[in-house]
Amino acid sequence: MAGPMKMRATLGSGYTDVRVLMTHPMTTAQSNQPLHFIQNITVKQNGKAVVEAQISQAISRNPVFTFRIKGGAKGDKIEVSWLDNKGETSSIEAAVA
C-alpha cells in the first residue's frame, strides 16, 4: 500500500541535506505479488528540479533517500514527488530548517 511520506530538509556545512521517507511496497518480479514499484523521483528546490531519479524494484520497501544540494538557506522550499509503475503519485513539501 502506498502511503504517507516524510521529509526533513536541514542545513549542513555548505549544503542542504534532504532526507525523504516513502511508504511503498516496492514489490519485485520474484515475489508472487503484482509488480508495484516507484519508477521516478523528482527533488525540487524552490520550484527548480535538482535531482531526477529513475529507480527499479531493487530499491528496498519503504524507500529512504538522502540527497544533498549545494548551499541553500533556511526557508528554502524543498519538494519531493514520486511516480510508480501503476501511475500512482505522491509528493511532500517542506521548508529547510
Binding site: N40, T42, V51, E52, I59, S60, K70, L83
Partner: protein, 146 residues
C-alpha cells in the same frame, strides 16, 4: 552524448511541458530490463567506464539482511552530473540512476535489495565520460535475533 544523459535531459524537458505523470516515459526500460551488468551498463550508455577512486561507495562489507542494504555514493569527480547503481548479481542488475542539476551535489544515500553476495557497482557520468567503482557486499544468512 550517452543514453543516460539523453534520457535524463528528456525527463527534464518533459517535466517542463507536461504534468508529472508524463514522466513515465522517462523510465529507461531497456536498461532496467537488462539481465546482465554488461547490458545494464550499455543501457545507460556506459559500456566501458574507467575505474576511479574519486567515486566512493560507502557501505558495510557484510549485510545481515539482503532486503535492506544501505549504500552511500559520492563522487569527487569534477562535473559529475549523474550516478547509477548496479548490483551485479541481482536478476535485474540496474537498481537506480540519479541525475544531478541546478546545484544538487553528486551524492545519494539509499537502501537496496540484494539477492545474494555481490559486487555493487557505482557509475558516474562527468563531462560526457563514464567512471566506475565497485565494492563487494556479503549477504549473510540471518538467525532469529534483533
Amino acid at each position: 552524448m550517452n543514453n543516460l544523459r539523453r534520457n535524463l535531459v528528456a525527463a527534464a524537458a518533459l517535466l517542463l511541458l507536461k504534468p508529472f505523470a508524463a514522466l513515465a516515459a522517462a523510465w529507461n526500460k531497456d536498461a532496467f530490463g537488462a539481465k546482465t551488468p554488461q547490458d545494464a551498463l550499455k543501457g545507460i550508455g556506459a559500456g566501458n567506464p574507467a575505474a576511479s577512486t574519486d567515486l566512493v561507495i560507502e557501505a558495510p562489507q557484510i549485510a545481515e539482511n539482503g532486503a535492506v542494504v544501505p549504500i552511500e555514493i559520492s563522487s569527487a569527480i569534477a562535473g559529475t552530473t549523474a550516478i547509477a547503481v548496479i548490483i551485479e548479481k541481482n536478476p535485474f542488475p540496474l537498481a537506480a540512476q540519479f541525475d544531478f542539476q541546478n546545484g544538487a551535489l553528486p551524492y545519494v544515500k539509499l537502501n537496496v535489495k540484494m539477492n545474494e553476495t555481490s559486487d555493487v557497482r557505482a557509475v558516474a557520468i562527468a563531462g560526457g565520460r563514464q567512471y566506475t567503482a565497485t565494492k563487494e557486499i556479503k549477504v549473510t544468512i540471518g538467525g532469529c535475533g534483533g
